[in-house]
């Protein structure tokens, strides 16, 4: 399995936690989702309707060695923010080829399925799918 080091680190952080601790960790991620840069608005971003709450995504692949990922989700949607923040922490700034090599089902290793309806978890795979699609199109 190929995973950029920062993403592998996030995955192992989650794997070490169980139950409420795992939810608390997801909440920490949600709280740390980076703000959008001043020149980017949701209107200019790609909506990700597969998520349970509104999420907007922007992929800047101008530099294929340093892909920038931007996410926006409202504070009242902490789970969606948490999913976005996992991808931001794990994949922002990585080379396009490395992001494309991330397994589509990497999120199953986070071990969240026992806590979050697996159907909702698909929102995370949808974000990754859309990021990859952008990178292939670019």
């Amino acid at each position: 399995m190929s995973m950029p080091a920062p993403l592998a680190e996030v995955v192992s952080e989650f794997a070490e936690m169980a139950g409420q601790d795992k939810l608390n960790l997801l909440l920490e991620f949600a709280n740390e989702l980076p703000e959008l840069p001043g020149d980017l608005t949701e209107a200019a971003m790609e909506p990700v309707p597969e998520c349970q709450s509104p999420l907007f995504l922007h992929v800047d692949a101008a530099d294929r060695d340093n892909v920038r990922l931007y996410f926006s989700a409202p504070a009242e949607a902490p789970t969606t923010r948490g999913f976005a923040a996992i991808l931001a922490a794990g994949l922002d700034g990585q080379p396009a080829a490395d992001i494309l090599a991330v397994p589509d089902d990497f999120y199953s290793e986070l071990g969240l399925a026992a806590l979050i309806s697996p159907l909702r978890l698909r929102g995370m795979s949808a974000m990754l799918t859309r990021i990859k699609r952008r990178l292939r199109a670019a």
Binding site: N24, L27, P49, Q52, P78, T80, A114, L115, S117, R122
Partner: protein, 309 residues
């Protein structure tokens, strides 16, 4: 010991106003012995970003569903859950949640399967509480209890053995199939799910039904029609109008995709309009839309039993 009902005038038009409380009432009763507040959301993290002081969290996926069989927890598991959450059989339980109390109504319906005597909804749920600028906290109550009795789930007890007045509130696929043509079915999903263009909610991931459409004869009334923009229930007159085709005495069954949205409609019909005997078919479209050789209707019309394919 039960708390007195909320006397707010606006609630008195409903058939069972004692099943609803307002934010004012709940604020005034925070900390009262005999009151337990339960938050139940779709978003599993919302409780942890702040909740009504004293509220405990109950999650539909983790706490109310059996982890293996597609079913609800049993009487012993429910008693354990209540004890872990510090809830006694005599307590007044007020449930609230996100999305117009969608999941809160589901939790209330499951409490009802176990016959918890006094269980109410906070009108407007989480959003209304926050919009009113009321207090929230990050503190998680530590209280535990030990005495919640093991109660057989209502749907596992034969009709003849159930206490009088405790009607069946759960319908199974076999019930729906057997009563097709003589029952009133209410499909509370979105219009595109009803017509068959979609097999899942708009904006939601594909959730696995092999066929699109609805159960023949089912009338489409999306669940959210029963709530206004603030998440509070519509007035009695508005609800009477929306559900004018539902008659007491008919075999009324509501369904959606997995039984959560239809719990909201079940609450409206049962407690706000006072229609007895309404059942929630929790197998819903994720069961019916995958079942072999059950009739399916597509398009805008309810369709008929004989004419369906």
């Amino acid at each position: 010991m039960s708390l007195p009902p909320d006397p707010t005038a606006a609630l008195q038009e409903y058939a069972h106003p004692e099943r609803l409380v307002t934010g004012d009432w709940l604020s005034q009763h925070l900390g009262t012995p005999g009151l337990v507040i339960v938050e139940s959301n779709e978003d599993v993290l919302l409780y942890d970003v702040g909740h009504i002081p004293g509220a405990v969290k109950i999650d539909w996926h983790v706490d109310l569903n059996d982890p293996h069989v597609r079913d609800y927890i049993n009487g012993e598991q429910f008693a354990n859950l209540m004890n872990r959450k510090g809830i006694s059989r005599e307590d007044t339980v007020v449930i609230y949640g996100d999305k117009s109390n969608w999941w809160a109504a589901y939790a209330l319906w499951v409490f009802t399967l176990f016959g918890h005597p006094d269980v109410r909804l906070l009108n407007g749920g989480r959003d209304a509480w926050l919009a009113e600028g009321r207090d929230t906290t990050l503190d998680v109550p530590e209280k535990r209890t030990t005495g919640y009795p093991v109660v057989e789930r209502n749907d596992t007890v034969p009709e003849a053995l159930r206490p009088s007045g405790s009607s069946q509130i759960r319908a199974f696929q076999s019930d729906v199939l057997a009563s097709l043509g003589s029952s009133t079915l209410i499909d509370v999903r979105s219009p595109l799910e009803y017509t068959g263009e979609r097999t899942h909610m708009p904006d939601y991931p594909e959730e696995g039904a092999l066929r699109g459409g609805h159960i023949p004869t089912a009338v489409s009334v999306p669940w959210a029609k029963a709530a206004d923009d603030t998440g509070r229930f519509r007035t009695r007159a508005e609800l009477d109008e929306i559900y004018s085709f539902v008659s007491p005495g008919d075999n009324n069954i509501a369904y959606c995709r997995i039984g959560e949205r239809s719990s909201h409609t079940w609450f409206v019909l049962t407690h706000l309009l006072g229609i007895p005997g309404v059942r929630n078919y929790d197998g819903s479209w994720t069961e019916w839309g995958n079942a072999v050789r059950v009739p399916v209707a597509v398009g805008d019309e309810p369709g008929t039993v004989a004419g369906s394919r």
